[in-house]
């Protein structure tokens, strides 16, 4: 197997939120297979800068798969071809010499493009602000061991809490639904005893905000789960639906 790759990139370029965008083709040669995908884009940007062309804008920060800042549709797949992997952790050994790679931003009405591959995901923050928390003012907490939480319950909560908020679920969904994201937070908090007191208001407020932001509905395609780098399960969506129904039927608020 060759240690370096020659590639053709088709990258979405869009100068600003209101400008129209288009694909621009770039040729790259001698890309090491040990590079990460973003390091490959760094190489592209260095070459563009040298030629006097503006660099491709893309979001990234930790480059170790946890901050959720990186995104990209790579050949039509959110975060590229590997499962359970963010774009920053995708390595070029996954591609073949001579490949053409199409790179696009997340596409969703609720995630407007700001420039090139950068989108605005603040809709997620606004959903969290409507109820993605447990109201516990600093200083008011009882001893951490005063409420035992069975290990399996804690594990279930942790599985859901692992969501990195990158938006791949939305980008992968044909309806641009944010159900996986919302359900992960609702599951995390409603599973824990500490989150029970607010469970009804939480799920109703978060779902209302989700609708307001213009995300689509869930039609059980499960593409979100397949694309999720944190491997959040769609069973959380079932739990979200249950929580929502329960709140609608039983809420005293």
């Amino acid at each position: 197997m060759s240690e370096t790759l020659d590639l053709t990139l088709k990258v979405w370029r869009q100068p600003g939120p209101d400008a129209s965008g288009r694909y621009v083709e770039y040729k790259l040669t001698e890309i090491s297979t040990h590079m990460s995908f973003l390091e490959m884009l760094d190489v592209l940007n260095e070459q563009l800068n040298e030629k006097g062309e503006e660099m491709v804008a893309f979001d990234h920060d930790c480059r170790e798969g946890i901050c959720g800042m990186c995104s990209l549709m790579i050949n039509g797949q959110a975060h590229g071809p590997d499962s359970g992997t963010t774009t920053c952790q995708l390595h070029m050994r996954r591609f073949k010499n001579g490949d053409t790679i199409v790179v696009e931003p997340w596409r969703a009405r609720a995630f407007p493009v700001l420039r090139d591959l950068v989108v605005d995901r603040s809709a997620f923050d606004r959903i969290i602000q409507e109820g993605g928390f447990i109201s516990a003012n600093t200083g008011s907490a009882p001893d951490a061991n005063s409420v035992p939480i069975p290990a399996p319950v804690q594990e279930t909560a942790m599985d859901a809490a692992a969501c990195i908020g990158c938006g791949a679920c939305v980008a992968a969904c044909k309806n641009a639904s944010a159900m996986l994201f919302v359900s992960a937070k609702v599951s995390h908090l409603s599973t824990l005893p500490q989150g029970k007191p607010e469970r009804d208001s939480r799920v109703q407020s978060m779902v209302a905000q989700m609708d307001l932001e213009g995300f689509g509905n869930c039609t059980n395609t499960e593409e979100c789960q397949a694309a999720c780098p944190a491997e959040i399960s769609v069973s959380n969506i079932a739990r979200l639906n249950r929580e929502f129904l329960r709140a609608q039927l039983c809420s005293k608020e």
Binding site: P15, G16, H34, M35, S36, E39, D42, V43, N45, E46, N49, G52, E54, M55, A57, D61, C62, R63, E64, I66, C67, G68, M69, T85, Q89, H91, L114, R115, V118, R121, F124, D125, I128, Q129, G132, F133, I134, A136, N137, T138, G139, S140, A141, P142, D143, A144, N145, V147, P148, P150, A151, Q154, A157, M158, A161, A162, G165, H188, L192, Q194
Partner: protein, 643 residues
């Protein structure tokens, strides 16, 4: 060499016995009545553990808070990448822990270069942090009975570390973020993401506002307040390659320094022993793996030099478990600085492994044989997964290859006991300040400090400041705001105006090489002198040959990077100068001239038991060194030994 001003520092450490200082301080603090709190505005820059927790807690108290971060969401701050855990003196395992022992371990671990009173307070509030986070829904690991589980961590002989798989930082940050977002929902916090702080505004000697650049539109914006909290993290990215996020930077702290805030101990940088080695010159960052791996993994190199066999093909008789050999009491769990230097020593002596020979093995063979693959997977599954992703090797089959990398910076802006910098009204929290970790930070202590400062210290001390001041109203039309904004705009225009030939990445890499070679894991005077000159030359080159395309009035990531780099090029010189002046070895600062015959760090308590706090006097000018003498009353000075 730099002048030393004999300033008598007022660190405002309360009198009285160590265990009573914090209580006494709180009792003497001024309060702000609830009606007045609503009228006070506080700016918090940064939304990591320190920033998010401070902003949320202050808003809960009733203040108007404005919260800024350069990322697209406060949830992205780099605290999120901390893996291993958070310390607290709960003593749930009944293994002899206490507030005093956590305090003692942290002072000793810091190699006696931290301020005792601050560290004691940190240990005192550590337990409240665990309670607070649990109440917020942080899913810490639990035993089958449902009670919290602990593990041991480098540098400690008790199990006091709480954790959430290998994602403790993520879960703690999401807890603080959720508390912050709740306050955004109430309207008490106004959130300003994708804003980069580019200057501090000082009015009549008091920090009264900030200048930021809106990273989407490129516009400059002015914000005024009654005080400013800086929670902007550390400066590891000066080295280019580090475990920090790509966006992590020193800009906000450095611009405060240029406005008069003293920078303390910039040479104290931490090199983390368990990182994935460099694979090529395209490398953009290094990835850390939690040092909790050292609980079960054994560190070794081949007994012979230049051995190129795969780790699993080397028989036991030909392996050198050098940490267990040199440090029988702590073995693989020695503190980070000790483990890092030992790895460098072995590699420099020719025993390194892998293609670059700049790596040592971290081997789980024995742990898998003892506990079973399932148990190891449960503890470290995500780390093994990440290692396999990056290297293409399966660590269940062959030993991991690891090498130290820059990870954390103990130095930072000087603060007093109240976390106030040398500019009144400017408070500095978390990694951005210098106070709690001395010359070396123990594992699982960074998360503890960030949250201690944000949840339990700053809410008191900023209230005390606001309650004891009678600040006049200030408007963003004030001359100081106009001047600061022009200053920030001018710097950006200059960068765009150079239109040279070199990219910001290439200059940053070069700076990184200079710092790593001469001011990294070991330092000596000639190399440091050389580095000072090289950095100064590189800075000149930056201003004559940087090439940044595009406009200022747009989303321009290259401009953002170049601006941060320009600050690193000024800051780097200070770091090297500080390393040069500190003629001793302590913690992460290892001067080759000062070592024992066993190559261990040799401190000079008589001459260097102080904090060096630097005052800015102009770019390229010699800064003035101020010294805060450190006193060790509770934890008597002793040679740090892990043998």
């Amino acid at each position: 060499m730099a002048d030393t001003a004999n300033t008598v520092f007022n660190s405002r450490v309360p009198d009285g016995p160590m265990a009573e200082k914090w209580d006494r301080c709180k009792q003497e603090m001024k309060l702000v009545n609830p009606a007045n709190k609503r009228k006070k505005k506080i700016i918090v820059v940064g939304t990591g553990l320190a920033g998010a927790s401070a902003a949320a807690s202050l808003a809960e108290l009733g203040y108007q808070v404005e919260s800024f971060c350069f990322q697209d969401s406060p949830r992205r701050a780099h605290s999120i990448a901390a893996q291993g855990g958070i310390n607290a003196a709960k003593n749930y395992p009944n293994d002899g822990d206490s507030v005093w022992r956590l305090f003692y371990d942290t002072v000793k671990g810091g190699d006696y270069r931290s301020r005792e009173a601050n560290v004691h307070r940190l240990a005192q509030v550590s337990n409240n942090i665990i309670d607070q986070c649990t109440a917020q829904g942080v899913p810490f690991a639990r035993d089958y009975g449902g009670l919290l589980s602990n593990r041991s961590f480098g540098g400690a002989q008790v199990s006091r570390t709480f954790y959430a798989r290998g994602q403790t930082g993520q879960q703690l940050l999401l807890g603080a973020y959720s508390a912050l977002m709740r306050q955004v929902g109430t309207g008490r916090v106004k959130l300003f993401p994708r804003r980069e702080m580019l200057d501090l505004v000082v009015v009549d000697g008091v920090a009264r506002g900030i200048i930021v650049r809106n990273l989407i539109t490129g516009e400059f914006e002015k914000y005024s307040a009654d005080c400013v909290l800086l929670c902007t993290g550390g400066y590891s990215s000066a080295f280019y390659l580090s475990t920090n996020a790509k966006g992590s930077n020193v800009t906000a702290a450095w611009r405060c320094h240029k406005r008069g805030a003293y920078f303390a101990n910039p040479c104290y940088t931490q090199i983390h022993p368990t990182c994935i080695p460099v694979s090529g010159d395209y490398q953009s960052k290094l990835t850390l793996m939690s040092e909790s791996l050292r609980n079960d993994g054994r560190v070794w190199v081949p007994g012979g030099q230049g051995d190129q066999r795969r780790g699993n093909q080397i028989p036991d008789a030909e392996r050198d478990y050098y940490l267990e050999r040199r440090y029988p009491a702590f073995g693989n769990l020695v503190p980070r600085d000790v483990a890092s230097r030992a790895a460098k020593e072995r590699c420099d002596a020719g025993y390194g492994v892998g293609s670059t020979q700049q790596a040592v093995f971290l081997d789980f063979r024995d742990a898998i044989a003892r506990d079973g693959r399932h148990a190891i997977e449960a503890k470290y599954g995500n780390l093994f997964h990440m290692y396999a992703k990056i290297t293409g090797e399966d660590p269940y089959q062959v030993p991991m290859r690891i090498y130290p990398a820059v990870h954390y910076t103990m130095g930072g802006l000087w603060v007093d006991y109240q976390l106030q910098s040398s500019i009144p009204g400017l408070f500095v929290l978390g990694e951005a300040n210098f106070s709690d970790h001395g010359a070396n930070r123990l594992g699982a202590s960074a998360l503890m400090q960030g949250l201690a400062d944000g949840y339990f210290v700053a809410p008191y001390t900023t209230s005390n400041f606001l309650g004891s001041q009678n600040l006049p109203d200030v408007s963003t039309d004030d001359e100081a705001f106009t001047e600061a904004m022009a200053n920030a705009q001018d710097r950006n225009s200059k960068i765009l105006g150079v239109q040279g030939t070199r990219s910001s990445d290439s200059i940053h890499r070069e700076l990184g090489h200079i710092l790593w070679d001469h001011c990294g894991m070991s330092r000596e005077s000639q190399g440091l002198e050389l580095a000072m000159g090289k950095i100064s030359d590189l800075r000149d080159e930056f201003w004559s040959s940087i090439k940044v395309l595009g406009q200022g009035e747009q989303l321009n990531q290259n401009l953002e990077h170049a601006g941060r780099l320009a600050d690193f090029l000024e800051f780097g010189e200070l770091m090297v100068r500080d390393a040069l002046v500190r003629e001793e070895s302590c913690g992460g600062h290892f001067r080759e001239e000062h070592q024992t015959k066993d190559n261990e760090a040799l401190r000079d308590d008589e001459n260097f038991s102080h904090v060096s706090a630097w005052e800015f006097t102009g770019v390229g000018n010699e800064p003035v060194e101020h010294r805060e003498q450190l006193e060790f009353i509770e934890v008597p000075l002793a040679t740090r030994s892990y043998k």
